[in-house]
């Protein structure tokens, strides 16, 4: 199909300053077992292409699910008309852009191919672990699911650029909900809301630890049910990677997106407290904070070799020893802002235009083993597994909540607490970073559902992090 697409594209590409075609074919399967009942499988194949035309300084996009020669030609006409309508009336002279002309292929491989396990065997595996969650009658809901996706993508430019990329994604989930005496608590395994999401195959299930996890999840829900509410007060927090991923995402990732800083998202996703003049000098966090955009970690959810404008992707520091160095902005935003960024212009699918998105955004591991991080806390809470997130449209004032908390008193882990929440301000929170875990505490997480853009887009992002300690944080629990 790609050969035909390439031939058709090159033969009908109009005589314009720049023309590109981005093809995406994404096939997925979603299986779920809930309360010991297998739900019908959900299969999907989303296939289509988007044409980009730049001409006389204007820019137009047109997407179509009709991949015939006629369908592509119609899309080109629409994109060309938009380029004409926006020429001289756009936020930047797109004609001044030197768009990449990439060539090559990226196919990291699937690992242990999920197709080698039959659908029935997958259902059996999910059913076995989910059923183990029901350790007693207070478990009122329990489920396991598995979501596998293969994405084949091509990007062609009329002036000879041609790349192909192929990705394999796997997302498992396992959760149990307990209820008694008017209280409900849910515990999930290794990350809620699809937080344990990676590229690869069935080996991800082993990393997730699905086999044998069911009983522990059920017991974890009951443990929370019996636990007291997290206390209120100013204290230290020790955030584990399945909460750090959210902290990174909301209060580093989004504020560093260059299109937000340039104002594109102010009508919906919001702006940023970060301004262009901060790069190179602003102290974002303590000396311990090192943050990278890293599309090279193959198993991570948003690894790739080129972004959707064809810009080659590599690892870059965004924050080094606490100092802000560069934003998350692709080729067009870099031109508009006049500064270097990273290869992160991305679209969620063929039917949406690419915009600046965080991809793999990671906190680099530090030097502290877990016991040292705990021992340094006189009064604090260890928090695991994000369950609630809210932040203002400048990505500054935030409030986050977790499934699981455990008090730390006198440098030792103490009782479990439920409904742990904390709030802070991004501009100062990261400066309270007082301990960064070593590689033994480092975990690779992410989310399939980062929402942004107009029209709306949800996209895959990855966040890897060690456990991190923050000092003097405003902590509180649930309603009594």
């Amino acid at each position: 199909m790609l050969d035909t697409l390439q031939r058709d594209f090159r033969s009908i590409a109009p005589a314009v300053d720049f023309c590109a075609l981005r093809f995406v074919e994404e096939s997925s399967e979603y299986l779920q077992v809930r309360q010991d009942v297998a739900e019908p499988p959900q299969l999907a194949v989303s296939r289509g292409a988007m044409v980009t035309v730049i001409h006389d300084g204007g820019l137009g996009y047109a997407a179509t699910s009709d991949l015939s020669r006629g369908g592509l030609a119609a899309a080109m006409d629409r994109a060309r008309r938009y380029a004409k309508l926006t020429a001289g009336r756009s936020v930047v002279d797109y004609g001044a852009m030197q768009m990449p002309r990439p060539n090559g292929a990226y196919r990291p491989g699937v690992g242990r191919d999920p197709a080698t396990l039959s659908r029935r065997d997958k259902y059996d595996l999910l059913a076995r672990e989910a059923s183990q969650c029901r350790v007693d009658d207070r478990i009122v809901d329990w489920e396991a699911n598995l979501w596998t996706t293969t994405s084949k993508q091509a990007y062609l430019t009329a002036d000879g650029g041609a790349i192909e990329q192929e990705f394999h994604f796997l997302v498992p989930n396992l959760s149990a909900t307990a209820h008694a005496s008017g209280q409900t608590q849910t515990r999930t395994h290794a990350g809620r809301y699809n937080g344990f999401c990676r590229q690869g195959g069935l080996e991800i299930l082993e990393a997730f630890g699905l086999e044998g996890a069911g009983r522990a999840v059920g017991e974890g829900a009951l443990e929370l049910l019996a636990a007291p509410n997290c206390p209120s007060g100013t204290m230290d927090v020790l955030l584990m990677p399945d909460q750090m991923m959210l902290q990174i995402h909301e209060s580093i990732g989004h504020p560093l997106e260059l299109d937000r800083i340039l104002g594109d998202e102010r009508n919906f996703a919001g702006t940023s407290f970060v301004t262009l003049d901060m790069f190179g000098s602003y102290r974002y966090g303590s000396d311990l904070l090192n943050v990278t955009h890293d599309p090279t970690r193959r198993e991570q959810f948003a690894s790739y070799a080129w972004d959707d404008d064809g810009l080659a992707a590599d690892k870059q520091f965004l924050i080094r020893k606490g100092i802000l160095e560069r934003p998350l902005g692709g080729a067009i935003s870099q031109k508009r802002a006049g500064m270097q960024g990273v290869a992160n212009t991305r679209a969620c699918s063929w039917n949406r235009a690419p915009i600046d998105r965080m991809a793999n955004l990671n906190v680099e591991a530090g030097q502290s083993p877990m016991d040292e991080l705990v021992a340094a806390i006189d009064l604090g809470v260890l928090m695991r597994t994000n369950v609630s997130w809210s932040i203002d449209d400048s990505r500054n004032k935030f409030q986050f909540g977790c499934e699981y908390g455990r008090m730390i008193r006198g440098g030792k882990l103490a009782e479990v607490v439920k409904n742990p929440n904390y709030r802070g301000i991004s501009a100062t929170f990261w400066r309270s970073l007082s301990g960064v875990g070593d590689a033994s505490t480092f975990e690779v997480m992410g989310t399939p559902f980062c929402g942004k853009g107009e029209p709306s887009q949800v996209i895959r992002v990855g966040h890897a992090s060690p456990a991190c300690r923050f000092s003097g944080v405003d902590v509180f629990g649930g309603e009594s």
């Binding site: 009942v37 297998a38 019908p40 499988p41 959900q42 194949v45 989303s46 296939r47 289509g48 820019l59 137009g60 996009y61 997407a63 179509t64 699910s65 009709d66 991949l67 629409r78 994109a79 938009y82 309508l85 926006t86 009336r89 756009s90 936020v91 659908r119 259902y123 809901d141 909900t177 209820h179 409900t184 104002g263 102010r266 009508n267 919906f268 919001g270 702006t271 699918s349 039917n351 949406r352 235009a353 915009i355 609630s388 997130w389 809210s390 932040i391 203002d392 449209d393 400048s394 004032k397 409030q399 909540g401 409904n419 929440n421 709030r423 107009e454 029209p455 887009q457 649930g478 309603e479």
Partner: protein, 440 residues
């Protein structure tokens, strides 16, 4: 588009074996999306897409697949025939589903709402002219949406709508802006200009020195756009039968402990007056009206076909997530133009943003003020507000602390377009609240 749908659905049904049920669902749109920033165009995109969901049922086994199609019957017939064979092969590996339920009565419905949509050139011309000299950032989405349902059991539904939505902000600076939405089926340049004039007048107020509030409880008026956000949270996790029976509903204290909202609060799923289609994915027709909260008491849950089977009750045409698509909060008696006087001294919240639960079982919500929110003294706007975080329960905001709802209501169509343009909407009044807890 309807002829295309009928032809392909009929083709698939002609291939159904005696033991099979075949269901087709089509969702198609032809959309223009134009983004603006700094009163210029940022991105303009045209999208033409057709997606087809095919369901194959044999006995109590079911398998579903959703695929993109070209939108041309001659090309798509072969693709769908191949997909049907794939599903037949796949069905062998699918366990029996005890909760399978689809519409088996040969019901039919149709709804078509034609409009007069603007050409993209007209939109760009009018928006750039209106935004001259201002910092305008906005988003225009327009075009026809088609949804079809057909099953080999004789069910037929059709829903088509032509609509546009233009939402924009006029920025004073940083995070201070006036947000306005103009949506409908027929673009009226004069109506757009009038809204723009009103927004410009509001913008002038944002130039004053902003008021920074200390955390605490404040008397508040929540404009309809802010109420939309609060109702959205209740919709996410409040009204479904499954969430109620698995004790995960945010309104579980209303279900199990007779907790109540104010008697002023009556919430319905009002399909009759909404924009969404009158049918759902298994072919059931939605009733025109479902009472979700009746004068402060939890009423009827939304019941999907799956939950209907699981819990042994009748479905009321809810979607799989059991979330409302045409939510309606009944009007109150406070005249909109008397809202500030009734507020007296307190905060006028134009919009809320990024809500989530800080304790779901207690329906405790947190979120941020956004856009044009003001400090009000003695019934007059005194200063714009710097953004503040609230953290409070729905039982207080819409319960003990709710003083009044406005007589006038806004119909707020969803501007979401994840994968495809949404047809959901919320109709809500504004709310006067005795106190709202601000925390940061």
């Amino acid at each position: 588009m309807r002829a295309y749908f009928e032809e392909l659905a009929g083709f698939l049904e002609s291939r159904a074996r005696a033991s099979e049920v075949i269901i087709s669902r089509m969702s198609a749109e032809q959309s223009d999306f134009i983004r603006f920033n700094e009163s210029r165009v940022r991105q303009a995109t045209a999208v033409k897409q057709v997606s087809w969901s095919l369901t194959l049922i044999e006995g109590t086994r079911r398998i579903d697949a959703c695929v993109s199609l070209a939108g041309r019957a001659d090309a798509d017939r072969e693709a769908l025939a191949g997909l049907l064979e794939t599903l037949r092969l796949g069905l062998a590996d699918v366990p029996e589903d005890p909760f399978l339920l689809v519409e088996t009565n040969a019901v039919a419905s149709e709804s078509e709402r034609r409009g007069k949509l603007p050409d993209p050139e007209q939109v760009i011309d009018e928006v750039l002219a209106a935004g001259r000299g201002l910092d305008l950032v906005g988003f225009h989405a327009a075009g026809p949406i088609h949804k079809g349902f057909a099953s080999s059991l004789g069910v037929r539904h059709w829903h088509a709508v032509e609509s546009f939505s233009f939402g924009w902000c006029l920025y004073h600076g940083r995070d201070k802006a006036v947000k306005t939405t103009y949506a409908g089926s027929t673009w009226d340049s004069a109506a757009f200009a009038a809204r723009m004039r009103f927004a410009r007048e509001q913008l002038a107020r944002l130039g004053e020195k902003p008021r920074e509030l200390a955390p605490g409880a404040y008397r508040a008026f929540l404009a309809p756009a802010a109420m939309d956000e609060i109702l959205g949270m209740l919709s996410w996790a409040g009204f479904g039968l499954k969430s109620r029976n698995t004790k995960q509903s945010a309104l579980i204290r209303m279900a199990d402990q007779d907790a109540r909202l104010s008697p002023l609060v009556t919430i319905r799923e009002n399909t009759r007056e909404g924009i969404a289609s009158g049918f759902q994915a298994e072919g059931f027709v939605r009733p025109p009206d479902v009472a979700l909260v009746d004068a402060g008491r939890l009423a009827t849950p939304l019941v999907s076909p799956r939950s209907a089977r699981e819990y042994g009750v009748a479905t009321n045409g809810a979607n799989a997530g059991e979330t409302p698509e045409s939510l309606d909060l009944a009007a109150g008696s406070l005249a909109q133009d008397e809202a500030l006087a009734a507020l007296g001294t307190g905060i006028y919240v134009g919009n809320l943003w990024y809500l989530n639960f800080s304790d779901r079982s207690a329906c405790r919500l947190t979120g941020m003020t956004r856009f044009a929110s003001f400090w009000v003294e003695n019934g007059r706007i005194a200063a714009p507000l710097n953004v503040m975080r609230f953290d409070d329960t729905a039982y207080r905001i819409l319960g003990a602390n709710l003083e009044a709802l406005t007589r006038e209501r806004d119909l707020l169509p969803s501007t979401a377009s994840y994968g495809e343009r949404s047809t959901e909407s919320v109709r809500t009044p504004g709310a006067l609240v005795r106190e709202l807890a601000l925390t940061l």
